[in-house]
Symmetry: C2
Subunit: 142 residues, 2 copies
Amino acid sequence: MIMTRDRTFTLAVDALKEAGLRPTRQRVQLLHLLRAGGNRHLSADDLAREAKKIGLSVSLATVYNALNQFTQSGLLREVVIAPGISYFDTNIGPHHHFYFEEERRLQDIPVDAVSVSDLPPAPMGTKVARVEVVIRLESEQK
Amino acid sequence: MIMTRDRTFTLAVDALKEAGLRPTRQRVQLLHLLRAGGNRHLSADDLAREAKKIGLSVSLATVYNALNQFTQSGLLREVVIAPGISYFDTNIGPHHHFYFEEERRLQDIPVDAVSVSDLPPAPMGTKVARVEVVIRLESEQK
DNA sequence: TCAATAGCCTGGAATCGTTCCAAATTTAAT
DNA sequence: ATTAAATTTGGAACGATTCCAGGCTATTGA
Ligand SMILES: [Mn+2]
Ligand SMILES: [Mn+2]
Ligand SMILES: [Zn+2]
Ligand SMILES: [Zn+2]
């Protein structure tokens, strides 16, 4: 199945080509699914489950492969919260996160809603890849 | 072996008692080891290996139990970097981190070396448990 | 001082998210 | 259409962490 002719998927196909990834059926469908529905934070398992729910035929290994490839190409970004808990973020612009511990849920914070200033310079021989701010929240009462 | 009489370990014993943890041989030795040598970031496996190297007899399960208990009691803090990569931090005061991707190493940044201001308020029903800033570094050349 | 009891430690099995593998399929180039 | 290279797949393997049940150990209070 060559997916370059289906109008529904042209955006996903183009994005994949630009990222240097072959627009295979699985990648196209997964990227399309990821991008439908605004900014999201989802685990590999979330995506696999969603894909299955709408009838896509994609193995879990391929979901992992695709998510990692998308992340490496800059189509996604990964946010790690705890050992065994990481989310793929469809919002690749600069921003920060609230993390609701109880709900295990991330929520975006616009980058200009937090000011991180006076960063120390990157140590010799290194450069800053990313500045991550995570505000961990717990429920108020107790 | 009751360790309350050994002068070498009084600090560790007292800290454990204050934290509401029984000062067992394993906990005392591990906490003592953790606190010898300044601020450190080490994995459970690092600590198990160090313990073995100096001749302590502690199982890996106990190292995990102790690290988790110490973290819950505020004697340590945990910093998660990637799925399967987390470090226990003997520096429990407020501070931030550089992370050297290649070396998989954390380095402290004094809290006053970074200014994080204008934080958005915690959403209704929640309160801020911690604000984490991680500056991810990659090597400069390539 | 010395049971009695609650808590702790341990090795090994189990869990769980993720990666690896090799065979079958699909894509892209000729 | 042919071919080579890349991709997908189910299942096995992996590695970090947790669980478990049986044997110790610290604490307490008689
Ligand atoms: Mn990953
Ligand atoms: Mn933990
Ligand atoms: Zn986000
Ligand atoms: Zn630190």
